[in-house]
Amino acid sequence: MKAVTVSEGSVLQNRFGVFKHLEWIGKPFGSKVFSNKGGFVYLLAPTPELWTLVLSHRTQILYIADISFVIMYLEVVPGCLVLESGTGSGSLTTSLARAVAPMGRVHTFDFHEQRAGSARDDFERTGLSSLISVRVRDIQGEGFPNEFAGLADAVFLDLPQPWLAIPSAAKMLKQDGTLCSFSPCVEQVQRSCETLQNCFTDIRTFEVLLRTYEVKEGKMENLNGDNNDSNGSLPCKRRQRSDGSYAPDTSVSSVMARPSGEARGHTGYLTFARLKCL
């Protein structure tokens, strides 16, 4: 899967052949288009989920399991003001923008000027610039800008030393506002939780993972090939042929599912908290 900006003169070249963009223009999203060699691709409408799978990684990114849980647990809804640091590759930022649209805003900060610039370019490209502001700022060193004090509905931290940013986050949040800190290492989590106790309550730490399944139509061969007992082969329905032997009943669904062998073991710990009411 690949993100492509369609323009008249361009082509897409891959192992399936050469695709002219010109032939795509005017076709509905979801169409199947063909190359000069007869290979095909599907043209899909972009969504934050698909974007997360194709964006260029300037840093390690957050994936859908963490992203969706963060947005639900931070209680982000249209109209919210969300502060984020660091921006990284903008994976979560894209989903945050969707969640706050159209009236809300995401203000994201990264201390790396070049990466902030790349993120800004990405948001232009995906049409989200009106919802997201990207600034270069060292949140661990300087905290969030005072202009947002008391205005943020939610704050998200993905920093190496989030405890340094937590006091500032507390100043930014509205009462009962939500905070989330994402850290790969448990030592970071412990230190963050200790710091959170001053101004925050409802401190909870989670791990979220996704297990995928493979689906296959079962073709169950009997070892004997005739109507005797199956020697340990999987049970399946059989119908009796006119000559008395049994054949597998092809009209019965023998679709089977099993978990995929590969899985992500760990991304990071998600620590959530609410600003205490005073």
Partner: protein
């Protein structure tokens, strides 16, 4: 951002108002109660019936303490676990005294204060905290416990003698967690992380028209409406002629703008190619929306003002318990005025959906055979629209996925099972929580594609 005059300001309403729904969290999640705040509303804690009046007009997130028979605001102390931090000395070793439980004998003789003594203290006006201090002072074994153990003891006594009530805002997260904890069957065992995945994977966002088949009491419908924020539409559709229950929607405190966006329509109407003959049902459906509470026969209580989700076995208060009696008459009238969610979708809207297609599809029908339903409604989506289907069982989703592949109706198909684990994070005591949810359901996702005929 201040709440509007009528207080009916859902996503930015951070202060309670009369008539709003709240989630009361008693003693750190031991007991969860949905309630509607009114001057007459009451909550039973232990054997005391407290008025909920003090909660009206306070910010969500406020903590209250049972002080005699009334709830009074409690300012949370700054460093709750300060004592635990002291346990670790600079060299990283535990406290030099190295207490442990080798001498502790559990023979019920450690506490010298009797039940009558405590009652006598109460009558003399002693507050909960005084009683707790007295219990500690009269415990023979308290001093021999480790600091962690002392903290645990103190917290246990606090729950009994000085119960706390936390005022929580009902939003998708808190509502889903509360139901999953106590009445998971009512929401088809949909866990909060699974719900969050459904919303993301179906690209639920503002200005979208989302088709929903919700057989989990309206939790999915409400969560989608919350993300739409008063734009677009969520079409709660149903097989046959009777709409499914949408009880949970009313707990969300949705504003009128959001309620208007929640509409209902029989699937048959969406599929039919001519003008809908269902106009005569319109009146019945409007009444449906108003009386959805009285019609439903679910265990959460038809006209209940207070929906009790009791976690701790000791309480044993039924859902239609005495605390509901005082408030029975109020909600039905209020519901008709305040809740307009679930009106029949207007014909022009149905027509525009037929022409443009829905932006995405969400199904939570955890008891149904999925494939026939998906086969019928997937064509209602616009091209390249994502869909997410939740089910309790793997096989129906596997069959559905397989058939979708064969029929070339969708690509990017995936069956996922979310995994969620909570951690206890405390100095020297960090580990995964002892309890864990083993199962939160399965999700089938994909993108609808333009079949060769289009």
């Amino acid at each position: 951002m201040s709440s509007s005059a009528n207080g009916n300001n859902s996503n930015n309403g951070r202060v309670t108002w009369e008539g709003c729904s709240v989630l009361l969290d008693i003693n750190d999640g031991d007991r969860l109660v949905f309630a509607r705040l009114s001057p007459a509303a009451k909550l039973k804690i232990g054997n005391k019936n407290c008025s909920l009046q003090p909660l009206i007009g306070t910010p969500f997130g406020s903590l209250f303490e049972l002080d005699g028979t009334s709830l009074s605001p409690l300012i949370p102390s700054p460093q709750a676990d300060a004592t635990n931090n002291e346990e670790i000395k600079e060299d990283g070793q535990p406290n030099a005294e190295s207490r442990d439980n080798r001498e502790l004998v559990d023979n019920n003789t450690a506490q010298t204060l009797t039940g009558e003594d405590i009652e006598a203290m109460r009558r003399q006006g002693a507050g909960g905290n005084e009683i707790i201090e007295a219990l500690i002072a009269n415990s023979a074994t308290y001093d021999k416990k480790t600091a962690f153990s002392q903290e645990k003891y103190r917290r246990k006594k606090q729950k009994k003698y000085a119960p706390k009530v936390l005022l929580r805002r009902p939003v998708a997260r808190s509502i889903c967690e509360a139901y999953f904890k106590k009445y998971p069957s009512k929401i088809g065992f949909l866990r909060v992380d699974t719900l969050s995945l459904l919303l993301s994977m179906a690209n639920v966002s503002a200005n979208s028209d989302i088709l929903v088949v919700d057989m989990i009491s309206g939790l999915l419908t409400g969560a989608v409406a919350e993300r739409l924020g008063g734009t677009g539409f969520v079409c709660n559709s149903y097989l046959g002629q009777s709409p499914y229950s949408m009880d949970i929607v009313r707990i969300f405190n949705f504003s009128d703008e959001i309620c208007k966006r929640i509409v209902r329509c029989p699937i048959a109407d969406l599929l039919s190619s001519k003008e809908s003959p269902e106009q005569t049902l319109q009146v019945a459906d409007v009444n449906d929306a108003c009386n959805v509470e009285s019609q439903s026969n679910d265990p959460m209580g038809a006209t209940a003002n207070t929906d009790e989700i009791s976690h701790s076995p000791g309480n044993g208060i039924s859902d239609l318990g005495t605390e509901n009696a005082e408030n029975e008459n109020i909600p039905v009238i209020r519901a008709c005025k305040a809740t307009k969610a679930g009106e029949k979708a207007p014909q022009e809207t149905i027509d525009s959906w037929k022409e443009n297609g829905f932006s995405s599809l969400l199904i939570a029908a955890p008891e149904m055979d999925i494939w026939p339903l998906v086969r019928d409604v997937l064509p209602l989506l616009s091209n390249s629209a994502p869909f997410a289907i939740y089910h309790q069982y793997l096989q129906p989703l596997a069959t559905c996925m397989h058939n979708l592949q064969l029929a070339k109706m969708a690509i990017g198909l995936q069956i996922s099972e979310p995994w969620l684990r909570e951690y206890q994070v405390l100095p020297s005591r960090t580990h995964p929580s002892m309890q864990m949810s083993a199962f939160g359901g399965y999700i089938l996702t994909g993108t609808k594609i333009c079949s060769s005929s289009c």
